[in-house]
């Protein structure tokens, strides 16, 4: 079976029902509209890579179902090696696109985690969710599907649970149960890469309780399913995507708000419904794997920042060695999240269902690093690159090429003698995009907030055991209890 090609991928996207809006406009063709063609290009590069001999090992693997070569982002990850393969793919994608390719990431993780969850649910309740999931996985493998994952709900009032919200739609829920399927309503927000995806994998956004069964649902739908309206978020400097010129790269990211208005999902695409007891475990597995692997994302973007800083130094007329210490500091930050992520995987275990689950404590520790170190890396990058790159502080492409001012802009933007004004401008815009523009992925809250991660660290750290070690080494024989009144 031949792997899907870039051309096939683009053709499919073009043929989909238009249901994506941005800037008040309905986008007719995501592959050509300037607001979405960059995120499509980013994902298309994964198809290119699959047939590039230097990258094929990273982007493809062998199906555990069929033994055929498939895209890695459609595979079940059974081993440590498979999950490190996920990290390698992420780093490679960031290196080639500069930013997030959500359609080769979140749906993949969701399917893998549900493989474990459906195993447990089926075992307890005699359901046959895993069988449905397997059928869908075979379909995804066979067609090389790009699948966004939708976890985050609109949430409403952060101090209330889903079942307490004045507007019950704040979290996505089942509003009708039919014989052949379910009908869902609600919103999933900040969903990366939906515009470049064939399908959307929808999963619970939090751990639900007994009275929240109708929120406890997981399923997959085509991106253009009836009843689904998508509005893309606007982010810093994304207005440039609508312009001509080099003020923004040719790759990109989108983050959509997905509004489900009574969307019908046929039963064979429903992988959880009502088993609220497993939503917490789903979140646990999902975040463990996700927060381990995102160490590779920020590392990959950090690699590009290193490269961009080198270009800027040279464009400014300075040798790279001037900044060697700073570049190494950036590299240390990149490798720190990458290796801590790999460590979270290595400290994990194989689930009885056959998929690998990262260690939760280590993964959430990594999330804290991911929410911290890239800020330093960006700061160092801006430090090296000078004011022109720090805030992208130089005239627009229009002024660069304008008959009235272009001559002056180009004359004075030239710095290093062997580098053109345009190359310097492009490098500076890249740094701006990576550190203060539309290329910045949400490393703080993407994949969940660091405060949530710290909560997990708190729950999973054996504090009292540690107090015991300390008492033993200190030679304290008496009990050292909590003060009574403060309990």
């Amino acid at each position: 079976m031949a792997l899907r090609t870039r051309e096939q991928y683009l053709a499919t996207l073009s043929a989909m029902r238009p249901n994506i809006h941005k800037f008040g406009e309905l986008i007719r063709d995501v592959t050509t509209h300037p607001a979405t063609r960059r995120v499509v290009e980013s994902h298309a590069r994964a198809f290119d890579a699959a047939s590039d001999p230097r990258l094929a090992e990273i982007y493809t693997t062998v199906s555990s179902f069929t033994g055929e070569r498939i895209f890695r982002f459609n595979s079940l990850m059974a081993s440590l090696s498979d999950t490190i393969g996920n990290m390698k793919l992420k780093r490679a994608s960031y290196r080639r696109t500069g930013t997030c390719s959500g359609g080769t990431c979140v749906g993949w993780n969701a399917a893998n985690v549900l493989w474990a969850i459906t195993h447990e649910v089926d075992k307890e309740y005699g359901t046959s969710y895993q069988e449905r999931l397997k059928a869908w996985l075979l379909h995804a493998e066979a067609n090389g599907l790009v699948v966004a994952g939708a976890l985050t709900d609109a949430k409403g009032d952060r101090s209330l649970k889903a079942s307490q919200q004045p507007d019950p739609d704040c979290n996505l829920r089942v509003v009708e149960v039919k014989k052949d399927g379910i009908v869902v309503r609600g919103a999933k927000v900040m969903i990366a890469g939906a515009a470049a995806s064939d399908e959307i994998f929808v999963v619970p956004g939090t751990a639900y309780g007994r009275d929240e069964k109708y929120y406890s649902v997981a399923f997959v739908v085509p991106r253009d399913v009836e009843g689904l309206t998508i509005v893309e978020a606007r982010r810093a400097s994304d207005g440039r995507e609508l312009e001509e010129g080099f003020d923004i790269p040719e790759t990109g990211i989108t983050q959509g708000y997905l509004f489900f208005e009574n969307v019908f999902v046929p039963n064979e695409r429903v992988f959880l419904f009502g088993e609220y007891q497993y939503t917490g475990k789903f979140i646990q597995y999902f975040t463990a794997n996700y927060r381990a692997c995102i160490g590779a994302c920020v590392a990959g973007q950090g690699d590009v920042m290193i490269g961009a800083a080198m270009l800027m130094a040279r464009a400014n007329g300075l040798p790279v060695k001037t900044f060697q210490n700073k570049l190494v500091e950036m590299a240390v930050n990149n490798e720190a999240t990458y290796s801590a992520g790999a460590g979270a995987l290595a400290l994990g275990r194989q689930h009885p269902a056959g998929v690998w689950v990262a260690d939760s404590l280590a993964a959430h520790t990594n999330k804290v690093l991911v929410a911290t170190l890239p800020y330093q890396t960006k700061r160092i990058c801006q430090d090296i690159c000078g004011g022109i790159a720090e805030t992208g502080c130089f005239p627009s492409h229009k002024d660069f090429t304008s008959p009235a001012t272009g001559r002056l802009v180009r004359k004075y933007l030239k710095a290093g003698q062997k580098v053109s004004a345009e190359a310097r401008a492009r490098a500076a815009r890249l740094v701006e995009w990576l550190t203060l523009g539309a290329g910045v992925p949400g490393t703080m809250h993407g994949g969940g907030s660091p405060d949530g991660a710290k909560l997990v660290v708190r729950m999973e750290t054996a504090f009292e055991e540690y107090a015991g070690y300390a008492a033993q080494i200190a030679g304290i024989a008496e009990p050292v209890p909590e003060p009574e009144r403060n309990k």
Copy 2:
């Protein structure tokens, strides 16, 4: 004498010769054009403040020449109290506009520093620069001028001195000397607030040497002087300024590229020309005062970040106390640069010419803090505010109000029960603007780079004296010299 009013200020700007370009277009009226009206609004608020009883003490003072009440930003700063007054004005302006008002800052500092420099130059060379400067200062005071300051040259190849550049225009220079004035050519870049200014104070961008006399020049020109073309830099998310709606605040900043093409400057507006020996000292005084006072800028913007984080918490349905530790951490960062700046002033001294000069070592230390702490403050702000604010990840104002999608966007953006979706969106856009958008001032390289500041710290630290203290305390009687071969 009555202080200039907002209306008078706007009328003057409107009447100027159009010479500012952005996005390939010549701006006819800076007070109404969307690309510049926000920076004008920011500066106009200083005029409002001067007549606000709660702020008048901050924004006005008494002229040491005439005894009349003038705008503080036109005054000579003779004492510690006067320079702390500069800091208070900066912090107040940031609090009211959210960002930099360069036209009430850099020209002011330039004039003050030149007051000291012209004193020294006149004394050595018998020139009468200070007299010229006094005449101009009286004019500025009397008219309540807003004066941008232009220091940074295009620079060209960073590894070469001005006199070595293949293109001699890379640093601004005198190209012709006439009986009644000089003719200058070159570029000054990233000049804050030029679009909101009446005049531009042009000063040397570095310390020049014997063969760089023609680069050693200081003068002031009207913003619309013949031969001056200004192209505004584009920065993250500034495209929104051209749109309707709340995706960007009503205040703002601009940073212009000023191209001087044989601009004539009459002698009475030239305050230094050829005395290259004093350019180094000019830079020293200028950066000392500037890098002390910018501690107030980042503190003021940090205050707004604190406030914005509080709004977001409440808009999300959470009480502020949830984030109390983080808010205090932000406040500590703000006060750190503010008090270190005040300390640099307090450790300074009065120059014989009567103006106050900050302590260089302390001021450059503060520059390092200013290039570091705001990054942390922004990170904490994003941490508190959630993903919607981190990267401004939600639909545009157009989608918020669109007939097709506005209903859905508004429904799902609402979170805290007592706060509207619009207020939440506005708060989130403010955070985006402050931390990842057009409101970010260049704290890394603005007012000079931290590496340059560290160089000053290195030059002004008495390292060998410290080695002596250590040897004495350690009881080392023998000399501990540098290894010979490594010298």
Copy 3:
């Protein structure tokens, strides 16, 4: 009137009643006993400095009472310049001793702050505390007294107020009121420099309430007053002070536990008693000044760390420039606390009583810096110096000189060719002492804890005002209140 000399100072100390214990032993003469002679030496160097022309301006000043030249540490500080003089003295002392000289610091600050407090109390209650204080100040000036300050109480259970403690002595209190004086009991702990002091200035350790009048007391006593027993704390590596050899420097610090067992204090030495309403204000003024000025202490020790790192580099055979970036980073840290401290003073004001009071918000911000930056500075120092200095990991002086092993130890400790093994060892021991030994002053909790400082920052930051600025810039017209249920 001649200034007291080192010899006179030592003679007085020698003649005092022995009441200091360490290691289970009563110390007969603090000037010669190895456990105390180093702290005495540290203070004696202040007397030397007062007659050193290069340092006299730092260590002496003119009495505002008598017009005579006095030790600066006996003066009232009326102006910003006077308080910056305090900082300069602290930095100079640290540079010459490597550590804290509490006897020229805390009592001085206590007296100054009480000058303001007694002014207020006398005004409200018609007492004449300030007159008593003036008499004592004249005595201190005339005799060049070294005066420790005792603020921190034993405190007992940290979750209870003084009046709630099961053991009422946990905070020092008046247990009897006599006609001619008061009798006090309790403990003041971790009191720096008591062993080198003539007298002890005792002040309230916290803000007391209505039922804590007997705790609200300030007074001064001779160090050897009847009923006072002092036990010196042991700290890392202080055991070496009892040995011969260079494993520890000749200067030092002590921190005493002062046990008051019914100590009688005559009325003329009591400066507050019962006016509990002023204890909070005392703490506020005291900490403001103290936490501003300690920026100089850690800067001064940091200077010595820089010097020690330079010695180590050379002793290892490496030129200092190898570590230039790191040394500058250390210098930046030093100057940061120094200038932030000076800023807290500059932002302060003169109290109506005539003494200068630092700005509280800035001072407590500086305390946070002081609790943070020196840890980085020490880390960098250890980084530069190598394993031998990091943990002082090399044989003792006894082994260095032992007939059995000294030859080998010396042979292999030699590194840089122009530096002896002994000089290398001395430099390494200095680094150990500064960063991991008895020379480490308590920068975290000394002068109060950073958590307490953050509490002040929290109280003094105008949070709601900042939310207002943000709302105005964001264009939010509606109120954004706290969520109701969470109040």
Copy 4:
């Protein structure tokens, strides 16, 4: 075959030839002398653990040679799981002893790495080093040997190579080749746990060159071999080990200076001699594994710091939850080095010889974390614990129990009501010992310096490749070369 018991271990140590000196004294029996009995106790606890059912899996494994159960620290590590087993053992040991147990660490790593190196050398040169090593490993397994590892040479002038040193002994070298063995001279310094070891594994301390064959040597000797003199380093507060009382824990660490004066090593214990080409690779493998695994050491000590901080909070009368955020911050630091270490192992590979080698880039990144994060953890620990723990600032055990002062000391040291003064004192001493005393392991330079690690990061980062990614994303088609003159 029964595993060696604590008693057997102690008996062997007692019977060894006395060759260890400290404080100018020759230590007769390391198991009873106060300067060494603590490090012996630390190692003895590993023997206890091996027979503790809860810990046996961590401390023992199965020999790949014999299939018998052996101490894990005598095993060959063939897999990722085996090397993670190394990390688990390290963390468990730190938790039970509070500090480093070098005798179950460095020799073990040395033997494993030499297993790979001898494989390569034998293959290239036809030597039979691995056979010798296998024989020794069987001996070590069978006898449950504790084996210190000695890598760091005295080094002399840091700017010169071994062959350039004026004193050729600065690096350990072969001074004579005999028929049946070699004779070595020189020093290995800062060798952890030698006093608790049966044997010492000596390996090259750096990569040697063609003219340094005689330095290129690896071998193992009994700790008491003829010609070997050991002088233990003194470190902060280790003088307390000679005293009675609780001022120092019952476990501990020693770091010895090993002086080899013509020590004879029989051929069967020589595993490398002259093959200088492999010394670089030895260092590479050795540091990769070592710097991966030390993430567990600092994590384990950090666990004890968390516990100690909890004890102190309670002893002060405060509930642990007061400090929950800080404790979580400490936990994050611990898990960061632990998971990054595990990641470095997971990214590694199996060497053809059958042992696992960590990824070098990730391992050296971890070394940078290990040289940084524990400093933060210690700072937070001191922050929580108060002044009494920060610098151990309270009277000694002698004063605590002294008839003259003990009553007062105990009365005022009591704080939390349910915790005795002694427990509070013991907890505070533990914190002091962990953060500012003899328990501080050299995390900065132990296992090599962070600067060295950064050099590896620099060498192993594909900088130019990253510049290529950046250029591609920025759309820069032209070459962006280094400036010519700066090459």
